[in-house]
Symmetry: D2
Subunit: 382 residues, 4 copies
Amino acid sequence: MGMVGGGRNAFIGAVHRIAANMDGLIELCCGAFSSDPANSIESGKALFLPENRIYKTYEDMIREEKKLPPEQRMDFVSIVTPNHMHFGPAMLALENGFHVMLDKPMTFTLDEAKQLAKKVKETGLVFGLTHTYSGYPMVKQARQMVKEGAFGKIRKIYVEYPQGWLSGATEKTGNKQASWRTDPKRSGKAGAMGDIGTHAAHLAEYISGLKIKQICADLNIFVEGRPLDDDGNVLLRFDNGATGVLTASQVCAGEENALAIRVYGEKGGIEWHQQEPNTLIVKWLNQPAQILRTGVGYTTPLSSFATHNTRTPGGHPEGYLEAFANIYRNFALTVSAKMEGKEPAPEWLDFPTVEEGVRGMAFIDNVVASSASKEKWTEFTV
Amino acid sequence: MGMVGGGRNAFIGAVHRIAANMDGLIELCCGAFSSDPANSIESGKALFLPENRIYKTYEDMIREEKKLPPEQRMDFVSIVTPNHMHFGPAMLALENGFHVMLDKPMTFTLDEAKQLAKKVKETGLVFGLTHTYSGYPMVKQARQMVKEGAFGKIRKIYVEYPQGWLSGATEKTGNKQASWRTDPKRSGKAGAMGDIGTHAAHLAEYISGLKIKQICADLNIFVEGRPLDDDGNVLLRFDNGATGVLTASQVCAGEENALAIRVYGEKGGIEWHQQEPNTLIVKWLNQPAQILRTGVGYTTPLSSFATHNTRTPGGHPEGYLEAFANIYRNFALTVSAKMEGKEPAPEWLDFPTVEEGVRGMAFIDNVVASSASKEKWTEFTV
Amino acid sequence: MGMVGGGRNAFIGAVHRIAANMDGLIELCCGAFSSDPANSIESGKALFLPENRIYKTYEDMIREEKKLPPEQRMDFVSIVTPNHMHFGPAMLALENGFHVMLDKPMTFTLDEAKQLAKKVKETGLVFGLTHTYSGYPMVKQARQMVKEGAFGKIRKIYVEYPQGWLSGATEKTGNKQASWRTDPKRSGKAGAMGDIGTHAAHLAEYISGLKIKQICADLNIFVEGRPLDDDGNVLLRFDNGATGVLTASQVCAGEENALAIRVYGEKGGIEWHQQEPNTLIVKWLNQPAQILRTGVGYTTPLSSFATHNTRTPGGHPEGYLEAFANIYRNFALTVSAKMEGKEPAPEWLDFPTVEEGVRGMAFIDNVVASSASKEKWTEFTV
Amino acid sequence: MGMVGGGRNAFIGAVHRIAANMDGLIELCCGAFSSDPANSIESGKALFLPENRIYKTYEDMIREEKKLPPEQRMDFVSIVTPNHMHFGPAMLALENGFHVMLDKPMTFTLDEAKQLAKKVKETGLVFGLTHTYSGYPMVKQARQMVKEGAFGKIRKIYVEYPQGWLSGATEKTGNKQASWRTDPKRSGKAGAMGDIGTHAAHLAEYISGLKIKQICADLNIFVEGRPLDDDGNVLLRFDNGATGVLTASQVCAGEENALAIRVYGEKGGIEWHQQEPNTLIVKWLNQPAQILRTGVGYTTPLSSFATHNTRTPGGHPEGYLEAFANIYRNFALTVSAKMEGKEPAPEWLDFPTVEEGVRGMAFIDNVVASSASKEKWTEFTV
């Protein structure tokens, strides 16, 4: 794996490295860690990389790595830069035959996302997107239960992602994370909706297996002078007739990453909270609710999609890094299978890719347009 | 107290009687318990009432009770009939000088509610409305903390009331509760929104001290053949600029009365769940969240509005019946004060009355109209 | 009902009155509310009693009430005095043919308890003891599930009752509750173990249907100068071979009434917390845990012992006062049945009586003796 | 790092590798993975080790690695075999100058543990023991708060570790984990008490900073034919006068790893549950309880011991593997510091070592002896 971005002090870069590293399947072998070449070099050294594999630019990295013999060169590129720096390295990597793992949201614009999707289709390369939350075992369990019809037809979806860290003008305090996320030049059209609303939308579609069809969005800016939404509520209609609500906010003072989802069908439903991710509450019409737990062996076992993504037996809480690592592991298993000419297992193919990425970018476009519109319902277009 | 409605097998009538009875301040002395005179008489007997105080109609009751000497006759009328039978007895009671306690929603139509409000104003009689949930001590604590500015300006309100009991066509199974609630002739313009959406709206306004100013509603019918909404989502804008979401549904299979509210201001916020009503989570920006509990004596004590409405020390869970009884108790204390020519304490006056009732009926009108409209935002008009 | 004790400011007296009053089956008709006659009279007046039914002493009350015609006089005596004042009025009431409801622990000494039990047996009068916690519907559900063998043979019981209100020398601050509870002359041999340890022991035996057979107790005094235990831990062995732990403490700073119990059998078990009393977690070997909830109608319904003791449908939390009222209601239904010469239903007979009271007093004797002993295990003798 | 044990299908071996690997500080460079040489080789290959670094026995590994130049050879040995195979490789490693990381309990007998402790002292080598649960950030936060006197003098400690996986005769079903843990020849004197009771005891001493001084133990065997305890309860007295209870059971049907601890002092206390490890409930006398959360930046920050052991900001749940990795990371940082002749930071030295290991073995000896004794209290001797 070669990394683009993720130099020292970059939160998400370190997360990607731990996740990639967790299962012993992936080795960081090179990187262009910063747009500042000195920072890139220092970062690479701190990661014990040999100097000749630390590059000043991603262009250098892709070009030079390609020259190496296949067994030496990186197998794929992991891109962990801010949103406006996703497309360039991703496209160049694909054009040069490298598989790509990309942080979400996929690109700066929907158009870029579509270009990448087209290129992935043309090349047949493997493309992963780190919508981490769908990497949790209990999320996968929920999806499979819905898929198998346990709850009948789905009627309602409530998905919410409240955070509180942007309750004040954090971006003016030198906080780098806040700074680029609230800057339209680096973040894109949307603030909270791009950063965390896309996670919520992905989670809703992932678990329900449904597609958002119509939306009615209300985006807001609460902190004075902030150019992008820091809060928003969206009414949803799904393609099967289900309705729902999506909320995403970064001004819910006191909240961390309180992503939660409830899905209700005719016969029951599920409730899941990211901050206690190993518990899945399963509700039933006229039956007591059940508490399903990561890794526990029941007589009717958890789905293979849940167990494949679990490292320890029940009672050993698995967290965010493990969920993140599940995406990397499935991606890596798929890459390996492809390289060996084998068919990846269905469980390996279960990671977000260009379709989800394009829908995420479309989500941003659609909610921004809907929020600006006086019309109540607007079609979700891609 | 004389009761209208609430004959045998009527769920809410029994609740009203327990609540009224709880604190030894109110005595059931007469009633017209059913539109079926035989049922009324049998119900009254089962309640140990003397036969001459069991009436066949509410008209009889009001007329005959008025003839009794003041110290013998009922002090107020409690009306616990289905919605379409609220206005008649309430107006007649007011016209005859009786105070009134009424189950919510206030009336069948907004116009009726306004007439009652006008009559209350004219007569100076005491009027109570059983929006039970604002009777919980921790809800009152939340309201006072917001009022005192603990959280700064309020920005966001999420209020939700998911139930699951109408997931199927319960109204076709002989269930009386389901039957009238899904019948526009008895329930009014709205189903779920009238029955429980009004509770959610009242709770949001009660805790926040704000008024809903604009709405964007989406009401749905999931169970085939049902004439009224069994589900709905509403985007909210409040008069101070705060935004919010209200959801109310009776098709969330597996849910009981999962009413919950979160209110966020600049500096923190609150979270409260009706099913665990003695816990109030108080969240703070950059400080650990706190767990406030009913009845516990802290160095900085709970608000007098909370403690006045608590019967037992901390650790003795108080429930729905106590919350209900708080409304009756405050109503009765206010009635007594008025009868004795004294000024009621602020804590006694803290029960829902005609203003809340009119707003509740307006809420129904407004969400039904908004849901039918193609316009995104509609003004909340009364 | 005539009440002994429970004058103004007495916490538990008010609780008894609300509980007795809740279901409209019991009327407070007289009382001797305080050893101070003036206080008794003032208390009685505040309760709207006629002056001639307010007595200066319990002896007066029992003597005078007996003279009244049966349809006028009190049916039973409710005794809510401190422990050292239980035996006198209880015995006198029984001797004069009155049924008795008594606050726990039953008496000041085990011997007194045995005398009362003997008298109850002789007279056939109804005797109730307010071990409130076994009045909760979900506790009754747990008991029935154990009884029906849902969990196989019971192996382990953990019961705990941590409170924090005596963490400091509260008894020296003028707190009446603390004062008598820490005074051996009024409380008896034990402090925390008598006050709350007896509740825990009763709950364990009630749910499991087992009897404590051997104990190993360690009582402690943490607050200097306090003459009675404020904390204790007890190892338990039950008559079927099950083992367990009972802890009771009043110096767990920050705790309210955190009574909780877990019972495990071969096939599963239950977990219940008094502060969230409407939830019963049912655990299963190799099956997901289930969440049973008060009042909810499942396809396999809750036990009739749970539903009989529930006033509202699921989702309306029932609390401590309702649990307390369940004891009064079942007691009153049994008294009525006896008075009418009918056989009480099994559900009505489900309230604590002299057997439980004697065992409670034996528990106190046994733990105090065991704590003082160097022997590890001592037989639980009655 | 060279590994002893942990061949394919060995649960804890994989956990050690993920943990060691997580932070990029430690590389698995060799191993003797199984007492079956073929299995060892196959396991090593699956881990991408070069064949010449896969050894048939730990003796081979230690001898051969020692011959390698320092910069090539393993820095330390990680031993993940069943208990009876701890001492041999650990002592040999120490004798040959290798630092050691060892799975708990430390050895098969207390005497072996003391020998290792002596050798560690003589050699000055770094020795780590994987009492994982003290690796959680919120556990460290709790310890620091106690240490800084936030709660005053500690009075009570409840620590419990209920599991349910040995509710049946799991060891007869071919389950390898169950098989060796219930076999006195491989597990040692104790079953549940050795396997999980030692964790509970360590956690209690770690958080409280106290030492167990006296115990009164009751060990039980519930599953017929099992030679070692599968359940036990222990009364505790600590060296400052605090009392407590420790329970450990593997027959609590339906439980996973429900390790939990509550510590109470004069002014407040803490509650922590392993299965939701990122939440620390902090209770206060006369103040609302607080919810402290891993990784959140408060105005009064979490202890440096908590933050040093956290990889992600608040809201990203960290789990068991991260807690495990914290022990490896601190161990590795200490080893590096020693190798570079630097003084390790206090936070780096915060991992369990020989003292904890010896106390753990003494705990096993003491509870087994106490359980067999008729005396109530026995001194905790080392």
